[in-house]
């Protein structure tokens, strides 16, 4: 039973990846273990912390609760695909605002923040807190994360 695998072709950060995975493999594990993209982090692995946030067709989702097989034919963006030659404005703002301590939740925070701003859900600090609530930071860098999101949102207005 465990030797059942399926061939998959995933489009990650604009590149096509041919993978051979068991059906139960999540997008998170496929990214980290098969595609060699370890920027997406495994925190709780059960949809409670947001560390594995990626974009599928431009929409933020949790890679730990998404099967790799499910997203065949969709366009996947990870933290590695945000800014390849220079930092994405949200990455730069996180540095500027010191929006992290240990950094483990940061890729998920940044992927979530990019989507949050694009969705138009960064209009006030309250709205940013509400729409970033799916990304936990156990170091407690929340005020700085809100500041970073606000900075980019304001710059884009």
């Amino acid at each position: 039973m465990t030797d059942r695998t399926i061939p998959l072709r995933l489009e990650i950060n604009g590149r096509s990846h041919a993978l051979e995975v068991e059906p139960r493999v999540t997008l998170l594990d496929a990214l980290r273990e098969q595609a060699g993209l370890t920027g997406t982090k495994k925190g709780c692995d059960q949809g409670q912390c947001g560390a594995c946030t990626v974009h599928v067709n431009g929409v933020r989702v949790l890679a730990c609760l998404t099967l790799a097989a499910q997203v065949e034919g969709r366009s996947i963006t990870t933290i590695e695909g945000l800014g390849e030659s220079e930092l994405h404005p949200v990455q730069a703002a996180f540095l500027e605002q010191d929006a992290f301590q240990c950094g483990y939740c940061t890729p998920g925070q940044i992927m979530s923040a990019v989507a949050c701003i694009r969705e138009g859900h960064a209009g006030s600090d309250d709205e940013i807190r509400e729409y970033m609530s799916g990304n936990l930071c156990r170091c407690g860098a929340y005020p700085n994360i809100v500041a970073a999101v606000r900075q980019v949102a304001e710059a884009m207005r």
Partner: protein
């Protein structure tokens, strides 16, 4: 998580046929299924992926209400202009649920099929006894840590809380669940645990939720969803209320009122006694408080959840007052 066979289907008919196999289960947003598979609670043999079906995610308004396709995402429905205008409580119940990421994944149909977050149900290794998971094995929650367990609709077999928010609003406004040709009232779709807590929904094997129908009404148009919880966001309800209110032309007499409750019962809980006590009455703080107290009559307390009987009437009263303050009732 045990391995399984993955099957991507191209039509509802194909999905129905695939569901006929033993151990087959539907995969929509995956936010409950994969979570429970990792906990060892769900052990599917075959996962039938319906996320690539087209045409099942439309939101269609007509003269008497709205029909929402089962594969519409929570985030899409929450943001829909028509839903926000005609059914504000539906929109509010959705955006106050889960997180932005989960709402982008989870579907409306799957949302109704989500399972309880009872920690005893979710941990088969530490707590073998669970009548919902293993019928007849007992209930580890009774006598355990019960702060989040239900006070209404419980039985000796199960006190697990239904975790839904949307479902509460659907029950309040008389929505129907469409299972292909068959339709069933949302209130009847969710089952009380009784002696068979393993059966949570009135859905037969092989049936698939295809859409939700919500009838338009004056009460639904003037409605709100108030959710009180241990943290401000991304948390299940300690107590919640979907409330809709329609007043007579005098602006004071209650013509229609709908109240349904979440976070306190084993299924989304329509508070008929509260509605009956307020209908035809003049809207006043006294009338509201008096009626709201009826919501938890007959509550059965288990240890740590007594606060819910105190909190619930206040949540109902606050929701009604919020409607009045907003000037939309």
């Amino acid at each position: 998580m045990r391995n399984f066979t993955y099957l991507r289907v191209g039509s509802v008919e194909e999905a129905r046929r695939a569901l006929g196999q033993a151990g087959a289960t539907l995969l929509a947003g995956g936010t409950t299924l994969l979570d429970l598979a990792k906990c060892g609670v769900a052990e599917p043999e075959t996962v039938v992926d319906i996320t690539h079906l087209s045409g099942l995610d439309a939101i269609v308004f007509d003269a008497t209400g709205v029909t929402i396709g089962a594969l519409a995402k929570m985030s899409t429905v929450a943001a829909d202009r028509g839903i926000r205008e005609q059914f504000p409580a539906i929109s509010e119940s959705l955006w106050q649920a889960a997180s932005a990421q989960l709402r982008n994944m989870a579907t409306i149909g799957g949302n109704l099929m989500q399972r309880t977050r009872c920690p005893y149900f979710r941990d088969p290794v530490a707590f073998p006894a669970c009548n919902k998971r293993a019928p007849g094995s007992g209930c580890a929650a009774i006598g355990g840590a019960t702060r989040h367990h239900a006070v209404l609709g419980t039985s000796e077999a199960c006190i697990a809380t239904n975790p839904g928010d949307l479902a509460v609003a659907l029950v309040a406004f008389g929505a129907e669940i469409l299972l292909g040709e068959r339709r069933i009232a949302a209130d009847d779709f969710f089952l009380l645990p009784g002696s068979t807590p393993q059966r949570e929904h009135a859905i037969a094997p092989g049936e698939i939720i295809t859409a939700i129908r919500i009838p338009a009404s004056a009460a639904a148009r003037r409605s709100t969803y108030l959710k009180v919880r241990d943290r401000q966001s991304y948390e299940f309800a300690a107590a919640s209320a979907a409330v809709g209110l329609a007043l007579e032309a005098d602006g004071r007499t209650i013509r229609d009122i709908r109240v349904a409750l979440g976070g306190i019962a084993t299924k989304p809980w329509r508070a008929h006694a509260v509605e009956a006590a307020l209908k035809g009455q003049k809207l006043s703080r006294e009338a509201i408080d008096h009626a709201a107290r009826l919501a938890t009559e007959g509550a059965v307390i288990h240890g740590d959840n007594r606060y819910k009987t105190c909190l619930t009437p206040r949540v109902i009263a606050r929701a009604i007052i919020n409607l009045k303050l907003r000037g939309i009732a």
